[in-house]
């Protein structure tokens, strides 16, 4: 199945890393009220991202998935330079980022809610041109005028003819068109990487496919790399070359989409896949409990308190439970290109699920 799927579409992914995230750690200071402080209470820090390595290749679509609070958006913000990590570094084309302005020109972000991302008092032309003005770009690489650059960005984002949109305001557009404007405002700078945080979850179902097709087209034609943050594994299946699953600030599984989504190794990935709604699916196993609290990370494997392998005793039967509860672990390559952080899977436990 996976070979077949790979053969269907030729994707322009190269081995050249464009973005490398090394050992990122982000803690948010815990807050405590005045009375708590007087009583000498101390708030625990929230470890939003707890040591993450990630590489994005040229022309690659990487989906970063997990529940709310897992740190996926924080990681995206670190990549954008919007949050300074306590530890670790972000490398762009193998170099640490020195000039943030120059970096931001090549690495652009698309947010979830296009209505909030667009200034309601600016015309579409102003919105797109502002990106150029911020970066002090007065003409394109081939001597194009500002208007030509704006027109090209709009039509690349599927807003054609572009001049019809120049004088419109965001409220005159539909949700799908607004997200296209957001994408056009990133395209005008000719970026190499787009970080998209839930780019379609605020859009109507029938419009989503169009926006995703647009992003796919941009990566095929311009070899743009995409990091898509999403909670939707169906979306990851539709667009991603590789999928990374985050849990409590860590990547717990990463690999080719066909591998991770069809032959998952980590029990958490299996649990996420089990709750993708489907007909008659009400009787399948559902993970108990709520998304965990990043101020209280359990020792050992951070998933062990919710892990069905541990709670059903399968881990104990395999003799691996003491490790699950006591030994923290990182990602191990268990199949070619397919990494997981699971003691049981690492010893060849129930790999198929």
């Amino acid at each position: 199945m996976s070979d077949e799927a790979a053969a269907v579409v030729e994707t322009p992914v190269s081995d050249r890393p464009v973005l490398e995230v090394r050992d990122i750690e982000v803690n948010f200071a815990g807050r405590i009220g005045v009375f708590g402080a007087m009583l000498g209470k101390k708030a625990a820090d929230a470890k939003a991202v707890a040591g993450v390595d990630l590489t994005l290749h040229e022309g690659e679509v990487l989906a970063l998935a997990g529940e709310s609070g897992c740190g996926k958006t924080t990681l995206a913000r670190v990549i954008m330079g919007l949050i300074k990590p306590q530890r670790g570094s972000v490398l762009y084309l193998g170099e640490p980022i020195k000039d943030l302005r120059a970096y931001r020109r090549r690495v652009q972000m698309v947010f979830q809610d296009p209505t909030a991302a667009l200034n309601p008092r600016q015309t579409i032309y102003e919105i797109i041109a502002e990106a150029l003005r911020i970066h002090r770009i007065h003409e394109g690489p081939n001597g194009e005028s500002e208007e030509q650059l704006v027109a090209r960005a709009l039509s690349r984002a599927g807003l054609r003819p572009p001049d019809r949109f120049y004088l419109l305001y965001p409220h005159e557009l539909s949700g799908g068109q607004r997200q296209r404007v957001v994408i056009a405002s990133t395209m005008v700078l000719d970026p190499q990487i787009i970080v998209a945080d839930e780019p379609v979850s605020n859009l109507d179902a029938s419009v989503r496919g169009e926006i995703l097709s647009l992003l796919m087209k941009l990566r095929e034609e311009l070899r743009i790399s995409l990091l898509i943050v999403t909670h939707d594994l169906g979306l990851a299946w539709t667009v991603a070359d590789r999928v990374a699953i985050m849990y409590l600030g860590r990547i717990v599984e990463i690999g080719p989409a066909e591998e991770v989504l069809q032959r998952p190794l980590h029990p958490y990935t299996k649990a996420l896949l089990a709750v993708v709604p489907e007909a008659g699916g009400v009787d399948r196993p559902i993970l108990a409990g709520e998304p965990p609290d990043p101020t209280r990370i359990p020792p050992g494997c951070r998933f062990h308190v919710r892990c069905p392998e541990v709670t059903t005793g399968r881990a104990a039967a395999a003799g691996v439970e003491p490790k699950c509860t006591g030994e923290d672990l990182g990602l191990t390559e268990l199949r070619p290109g397919h990494f997981a952080a699971c003691h049981l899977a690492a010893m060849g436990g129930p790999a198929e699920g």
Binding site: E4, A205, S206, G234, W237, V239, E258, P291
Partner: protein, 329 residues
């Protein structure tokens, strides 16, 4: 007899810019122990229907047709009767559980209030019932004394469900009840609702834009577009073998993992849902329809039998074009 029987329902909002027809002639039934999923995009009128059943609209809003709840027309109820019917005849679970609860009142008291307001029990009895309801929705009874902020999103939604059940309604309307929840919590809440529906023999109207959720919880599905039902029938049939091109496009937005037809091929529709004040003539979907032909822009389709207990409003259904033209004459 159906618990809910909606006939030719139309809802028109009054604005300074004129009437906005949000629902344009909708007919459906829900039986005891049945879940009807109502799907569609924002602005299609699905939530308007939910609110119309409980008459939650502003007085100026024009509501036509009939809504029979346990055989009684909601639209003709006197205020006192209507107040009694809300919660005890039909109750509603909203999307924003986080905002629907009173933040300065213990959740148990809020459930008790629903029961005592309807004079179904005295304070003490109502408290016992609230505890039982909490257990029924899978919360430990000690949570009865918690304030909303002490609960997680999923727990708050469970409280809302407990409240909806407090007065033993025959119909529960669930309007995007799991949309704000995380995927795993969503699955937990969906299982709970399906379980309660079976256990209590409720009729349920489940409204959401997420077709994959509906596929899981519904017995039947009704798909809305521009204020009308365009396809209706057994959930799996409608989702997997849709007869209306709009349903097919909507279903494609929820791909099945492993299905190579979707791999690297996101599919969507061009254009946007129409402005309810400017609905295209003929089939309202024709400007976006990949299968539209000449007659679609002039002949308005109605729901036609489309096999396997389904009905679809598309001129491509066998015999539809002839029957639509006959009707127009």
């Amino acid at each position: 007899m159906s618990v809910l029987s909606v006939r030719d329902l139309s809802v028109t909002y009054q604005t300074t810019g004129g009437g906005v027809p949000a629902v344009r002639g909708v007919t459906f039934d829900i039986d005891r122990g049945e879940v009807l999923g109502l799907a569609g995009e924002s602005g299609c009128g699905k939530s308007t229907i939910g609110a119309a059943i409980l008459r939650l609209h502003a007085a100026a809003t024009k509501i036509e047709g009939t809504i029979l709840l346990d055989g009684e027309n909601v639209l003709e109820m006197k205020p006192g009767r209507l107040r009694a019917a809300r919660w005890s005849g039909a109750s509603i679970v909203f999307q924003g559980a986080l905002h629907a609860l009173n933040p300065v009142k213990r959740v148990g008291d809020q459930i008790v209030e629903a029961i005592t307001t309807h004079q179904l029990a005295g304070d003490r009895e109502a408290k016992v019932r609230a505890g039982a309801l909490l257990e029924q929705v899978g919360l430990p009874p000690r949570r009865i004394d918690d304030y909303p902020h002490e609960l997680s999103g999923g727990q708050k939604q469970r409280i809302m469900i407990a409240m909806a059940l407090a007065c033993n309604p025959s119909l529960v309307i669930a309007d995007e009840p799991t949309t704000a929840l995380d995927v795993i919590v969503q699955a937990q809440v969906l299982r709970l609702m399906r379980g309660l529906e079976r256990e209590l023999g409720l009729a349920m109207l489940f409204i959401t834009h997420d077709l994959s959720v509906l596929l899981e919880v519904s017995d039947r599905l009704a798909i809305m577009y521009a204020g009308k039902i365009v396809e209706e029938g057994p959930a799996e049939q409608v989702f997997h073998h849709s007869r209306h091109p709009y349903t097919a496009a909507l279903a494609a937005a929820f791909p099945e993992i492993g299905d190579i037809r979707f791999r690297h091929r996101p599919s969507g529709l061009g254009g946007d849902p129409p402005d309810p004040q400017d609905i295209p003539p003929g089939c309202s979907f024709h400007p976006r329809c990949p299968k539209a032909f000449e007659d679609c822009s002039s002949v308005e389709p109605h729901l036609y039998p489309a096999g396997d207990g389904r009905r679809a409003a598309c001129l491509l259904i066998e015999g539809a074009l002839a029957s639509a033209k006959d009707g127009a004459r």
